[in-house]
């Protein structure tokens, strides 16, 4: 893989990530009253001056709803990504380094969580608890811990088998420092960032899916990318903009985040080589 191509990919996906982060940060500061936004004189406008992405079936500005819609997944996504990464890294490090019952216990728990079908379990939780998006994000984070832990455990085990940990122990470093600093921080950072982007993408996916299904997630008239698509599906054949814009946003965001994480990890591998 050429260096330049890698860089172009990183810039492109990095731009997407940066843009989403920017939107997510500024969205809460933009005043928006969904009831106020309804304008029956401006139904289903094509994109143009004033409404860069046009308007939806109730005359609301699609761009504005797209911006405010980031609130539905942005903070929960960040939270889930952070939680899953931290716990996944810890579980992976512990199960890769420790032996005996501790390793067995962590591995068993990971395997157990991993057998739960993610989306089905989330829907089950939704049925029982009717939870906020934050709780859903938390559940998603827990469900992602095993896959992150596995990635990290493999890395730790690979390093451990290279006498690597032993050499650092021999040098007098504390195992905790070796694990947290030498291995997790210095060696696994790109891997962890990649996993974090997965989790973030998954939270967006879950939010969108649940909103699309209607009963869970953000409810109309508050905007979310999922309920924008869901709302607009009745407009098929009339206007494409109200569903196409959020759909494209969803796809580009998820793809951008995944690609960014992947390319970052790959760039790191090539740097070491």
């Amino acid at each position: 893989m050429g260096d330049s191509r890698l860089r172009v990919g990183l810039y492109l996906s990095g731009t997407v990530v940066g843009l989403v982060l920017l939107l997510g940060v500024i969205a809460p500061f933009v005043p928006y009253d969904p009831a106020d936004a309804v304008d029956y004189d401006q139904l289903l406008q094509a994109p143009g001056m004033g409404h860069i992405f046009g308007t939806d079936g109730q005359g609301r500005d699609v761009a504005m709803r797209l911006l405010k819609g980031t609130e539905a997944f942005f903070l929960p996504g960040l939270m889930a990504a952070a939680l899953a990464t931290v716990f996944g890294a810890l579980c992976g490090a512990v199960s890769g380094y420790a032996g005996g019952w501790l390793r067995g216990g962590v591995l068993g728990t990971m395997q157990l969580i991993d057998t739960l079908p993610r989306l089905v379990f989330i829907i089950l939780v939704c049925t029982i608890l009717n939870p906020s998006i934050y709780l859903i994000a938390f559940v998603a984070a827990v469900l992602f811990v095993p896959s992150i832990a596995t990635v990290i455990r493999r890395r730790v085990e690979a390093l451990g088998s290279e006498d690597y940990i032993l050499a650092h122990v021999a040098h007098g470093f504390r195992p905790v420092r070796i694990l947290l600093y030498h291995i997790l921080w210095l060696q696994c950072r790109p891997l962890l960032i990649r996993q974090a982007t997965y989790v973030f993408g998954y939270v967006l996916f879950v939010e969108v899916a649940l909103s699309y299904l209607g009963d869970y997630g953000v409810q109309e008239p508050d905007p979310s990318w999922g309920n924008m698509v869901a709302q607009a599906r009745g407009l098929r054949g009339v206007s494409a903009w109200p569903w196409a814009v959020p759909a494209v946003a969803i796809v580009v965001t998820i793809a951008g985040f995944l690609a960014f994480g992947n390319l970052l990890a790959r760039a790191d591998e090539e740097e070491v080589r």
Binding site: D114, L116, R236, G237, W243
Partner: protein
């Protein structure tokens, strides 16, 4: 010990492990039920459920006992396929009768999508081989397209079906009754084919398979033992195939939860009468026994498939047996 006996022991050990996992996973599901805020029975029954039905639910889910014995009682029923009766979705019918046929269709759909995806990935990997410059340029957009969540793909499909393909499929003048254009085709294969395509294209499944198949192929082409086999004058294809079975099988096992997640939404969007659709409808109507029954079925399927791939892997590679699960 003979090889067959070793394999049998290894298989039994794994089966025991799988059973243990199933018990653990159902316990997690059960604890989730019990963790409902307030009175659990209110959380799991639809509005306006008559008291006698509530009492039956209480008993079925062991809510009148402490979580542990309650779980045991519930597990004993569930293990024998008794998940109680449907409340709303199909009132009075045993959950298993409602759920099993639908879940069967889901499995068929997921499995066909996986197999088709694998075949396509292998074909693509064989055709493309070492990526040329033009193919490299293609991977970017392809990547973006296939990273889309399957249900976004599904929605897009439905839109296109309505605009373009409809004219192709329907002899003019057809106006869809509700928002869903393919409703009349539920009896035919067409929506299933579309749903399958959606599953393949969505969630990065195809890209994932394609990448891993290509990587495996390249690694195998360069592998030293292939050179050794060639040097001996034997044919390489058989060896490559044999050595690909393992990584691909584990790939399957790893991807199944994602496909099963995707299939739920895809069925819903295409209104295919499968397990996912039933799950979401039942969840919406708060038909709790159906939701729980399906959750257990989905979980059990994942465990079973993992178990199966494990055992097949052991058959292919004798080393796997020695290491134990």
């Amino acid at each position: 010990m003979s090889r067959a006996a070793r394999l049998a022991i290894a298989a039994l050990r794994r089966a025991a492990g799988g059973l243990l996992l199933l018990v653990g996973a159902t316990f997690v599901i059960y604890i989730t039920i019990r963790s409902a805020p307030g009175d659990a029975i209110d959380a799991i029954s639809p509005m306006g459920t008559p008291p006698d039905v509530k009492a039956r639910l209480m008993e079925e889910f062991g809510l009148d006992r402490d979580p542990f014995t309650g779980y045991i009682a519930w597990l004993m029923r569930s293990l024998f396929g008794d998940f109680g009766e449907s409340l709303v979705f199909s009132p009075g019918a045993p959950v298993m009768e409602v759920v099993l046929p639908a879940f069967g269709r889901t499995l068929l759909l997921s499995a066909s999508a996986l197999v088709a995806c694998l075949i396509l990935a292998i074909l693509a990997a064989l055709l493309l081989g070492e990526p040329s410059r033009r193919q490299q340029l293609l991977t970017g957009p392809l990547y973006v397209a296939t990273a889309a969540p399957s249900f976004v793909v599904a929605v897009v499909f439905v839109q296109f079906v309505n605009w373009g393909i409809k004219a192709f499929l329907v002899e003019g003048g057809y106006v869809p009754p509700s928002w869903y254009p393919l409703e009349m085709y539920t009896e035919s294969l067409v929506p299933y084919v579309f749903a399958g395509l959606t599953l393949i294209a969505g969630d990065g499944l195809f890209m994932d398979f394609f990448n891993s198949v290509r990587a495996d192929l390249n690694a195998l082409r360069n592998a030293q033992f292939i050179a050794a086999v060639k040097a001996k004058g034997a044919r390489t294809l058989g060896h490559i195939a044999r050595n690909m079975v393992m990584p691909l099988l584990s790939g399957y096992a790893a991807r199944l939860p994602i496909v099963l997640g995707g299939v739920v939404i895809v069925e819903y969007v295409f209104t295919l009468d499968g397990g996912g659709y039933v799950l979401l409808e039942a969840a919406r109507e708060r038909d709790f026994p159906v939701v729980v029954g399906l959750s257990v079925l989905f979980t059990a399927t994942i465990i079973a498939v993992n178990l199966l791939t494990d055992i097949i892997r052991a058959l292919v590679d004798p080393r796997e047996v020695a290491h134990g699960g």
